[in-house]
């Protein structure tokens, strides 16, 4: 009689076991590097931002001043937060309905031969580098966008969000939001399509058997099933939009000091997001305090995207737990 361990010893000699352990250790090591990287990002941003935040004489969250060249150091992120959130929310509001429609097209409407190449074309949109989106938008799309903005200002100008401002051309939060919508469209589309395609066939067939039209079947079977996936996709898209840098930097013009004096709610104002403020001033990181001020802005951006991505993950995990 041989026990199991003896069999194992015959089949796997000692040196095999050692090699096995080394290989497993390598795999664990690589995984630990991933965990360490994320932790290090957080730790480094915090420790580098801290001295600058200590010297800051303004309120970091509510101040609109960003004066870090000469003491007293004063900087606050209120303006950056506003511009970042406005552009990203505009992007999500436009991209979600469009992305969900395209996802439905790919999963339920497109003829079978078209669905696959069509999905790859949408994926190609994600491959276009961000700097090319910025170039395209500011050089080529802006002239076509301006009439739209003028029209909105005329019709909806009585709402503070749509009032006219001194910012000229298409260098506005609204335009940046629209371009960001195009940029996050592929991720929202592909994730939504994935969940729509997983709708149980018997749900769909049951709806059709009850006489539902295709649209009614989608509304009663596909959309409810895909809802958590769509929410999660929207959050991931929001995360992308929050951190998008160079396209936004190219499109929006930063406000002159004069124009910054009074805060405007308007979407047709210029401004700077966290990312574009850092990018615009990347050449000026010459003292630790200056760099620290921008790093603290980057830290807030990191925390924002962290929270948004974590929510996306929780939503999709819940669904998984529910559907299995």
């Amino acid at each position: 009689m041989t026990t199991e361990t003896e069999v194992a010893q015959v089949l796997r000699p000692a040196n095999h076991r050692r090699q096995d352990q080394v290989f497993k250790a390598l795999a664990i090591g690589a995984s630990s590097v991933i965990v360490a990287l994320v932790v290090l990002v957080a730790v480094f941003l915090v420790t580098q931002a801290y001295p600058a935040l200590r010297q800051n004489t303004a309120n970091f969250f509510t101040s609109r001043i960003f004066s870090i060249d000469t003491p007293p150091i004063m900087f606050g992120i209120a303006d950056l937060l506003w511009a970042t959130i406005v552009t990203s929310v505009i992007a999500v509001v436009i991209a979600v309905p469009l992305g969900v429609s395209i996802a439905l097209f790919l999963s339920h409407y497109a003829p079978e031969r078209l669905a696959r190449p069509a999905a790859q074309l949408v994926a190609l949109l994600a491959a276009v580098p961000s700097i090319i989106y910025g170039l395209w938008a500011s050089q080529l799309v802006a002239p076509y966008y301006l009439p739209v903005q003028d029209f909105l200002e005329k019709v909806l100008g009585w709402i503070p969000l749509f009032s006219a401002t001194n910012t000229s051309g298409g260098a506005t939060l609204m335009f940046a939001g629209i371009v960001l919508a195009v940029m996050i469209l592929p991720i929202i589309t592909s994730l939504s399509r994935e969940v729509f395609a997983q709708t149980p066939t018997f749900h769909e067939e049951a709806a059709l058997a009850l006489g539902a039209t295709r649209w009614e079947m989608i509304r009663t079977a596909v959309l409810p099933f895909g809802k958590p996936g769509v929410i999660s996709a929207a959050m991931l898209g929001l995360g992308r939009a929050l951190g998008e840098t160079i396209a936004v930097t190219i499109i929006i013009s930063s406000l002159s000091d004069q124009n910054r004096q009074s805060f405007s709610l308007s979407f047709f104002n210029g401004g700077e997001t966290f990312a574009s403020r850092i990018a615009n001033n990347a050449a000026e990181f010459d003292t630790p305090t200056k760099a620290g001020a921008y790093i603290s802005a980057g830290l807030v951006l990191f925390v924002l995207t962290f929270v948004v991505n974590a929510i996306a993950r929780v939503v999709i995990e819940r669904r998984r737990a529910f559907s299995e």
């Binding site: 480094f44 949109l125 700097i131 170039l135 395209w136 990018a279 760099a291 980057g298």
Partner: protein, 305 residues
């Protein structure tokens, strides 16, 4: 089940009569939805077609000249036409290759851990969560982190290698996730057959699992490369532009296609604008070629079941 208690009459009442057509309102809604989803797809294609056509039209004449591919911008000003993008192309390729050399082993070993060892372990879940977070880290934050590490903490200069480190942060999650998907597709029977022959676990992984998933892993690497080659934000912080050819990763500045576009985009004269469009076209050609290659490989050599 309650279905047994239903009489045929009741079932018939529940179903719409096939003879009477659907009400007009329902039919109109259905048609509208069909038109709307087709329209949404067409709208999404407009930017793609517009960008590609515009780049071909505006950058085409610049890119077809032979000197574009062989010369740098050394000594060129906004008033002198000519010069090329050779310095930027090799800069972009060099940084991408170094990034890949660091990222790929890290990503593949992590994916192996997640699929072959860490499934449903506590550490596996932590790694998977951190990977999601890393996927979401904005590229400018990756740049800031490396700046805080490399320049502020170690007191080193901004060099091309620091750019590569920032790009590693962006490439690793892409390659890990795609490798993970591919390893999941490898049928368990293959692993079991290998174990049954007395092959050890690491041997099974390296000579059975990885080769089976090989083409899919290559696809993921190519897509990851395409992503990092177009990145601009970390380069703004860590990789100042240079007009000359540079191949030293550890000193001096190195031109790349994104920073070349960025350096000249604010000029209004025709000559620098031509360069901007030329560089943009060159960049998108590189990126789309990598994408196409990746997708073709994925298509023609999927994991065989």
């Amino acid at each position: 089940m309650s279905a047994a208690t239903h009489t045929p009459d009741l079932v018939e009442q529940a179903l719409p009569d096939p003879e009477t057509p659907q009400s007009t309102g329902r039919r109109v809604k259905d048609r509208t939805a069909t038109v709307a989803v087709w329209a949404a797809f067409v709208i999404a294609m407009i930017p793609l077609v517009w960008i590609i056509v515009a780049l071909l039209v505006k950058g085409g004449s610049v890119v077809v000249s032979a000197s574009w591919w062989t010369n740098s911008q050394r000594g060129m000003t906004t008033l002198t036409a000519g010069g090329g993008a050779y310095h930027a192309i090799i800069g972009t390729l060099l940084q991408a290759v170094v990034t890949a050399v660091i990222s790929v082993p890290l990503a593949i070993m992590t994916a192996i851990y997640l699929i072959e060892y860490g499934r449903s372990t506590r550490f596996g879940r932590i790694v998977s969560f951190m990977l999601d977070i890393l996927t979401g880290v904005p590229s400018i934050v990756a740049g800031l982190f490396i700046y805080a590490l490399w320049v502020t903490t170690f007191g080193l200069q901004r060099v091309p290698f620091a750019v590569c480190l920032a790009l590693v942060l962006l490439m690793v999650p892409v390659v890990t996730r795609s490798t993970e998907e591919m390893l999941k597709l490898v049928p368990n029977e293959l692993r079991e057959a290998s174990y049954a022959l007395g092959v050890s676990k690491w041997r099974t992984i390296t000579s059975i699992v990885l080769p089976t998933a090989f083409s899919g892993i290559i696809t993921g690497i190519l897509l990851g490369l395409a992503r990092v080659m177009g990145e601009t934000a970390p380069l703004l912080i860590l990789g100042p532009y240079s007009q000359s050819i540079a191949t030293n990763l550890f000193s001096g500045f190195m031109g790349t296609l994104p920073t070349m576009i960025n350096a000249e985009r604010n000029e209004v004269a025709a000559i620098p604008l031509d360069r901007v469009w030329g560089a943009a076209l060159t960049l998108i050609i590189l990126v789309l070629l990598l994408n196409l290659a990746g997708r073709l490989i994925a298509r023609y050599s999927a994991v065989r079941k």
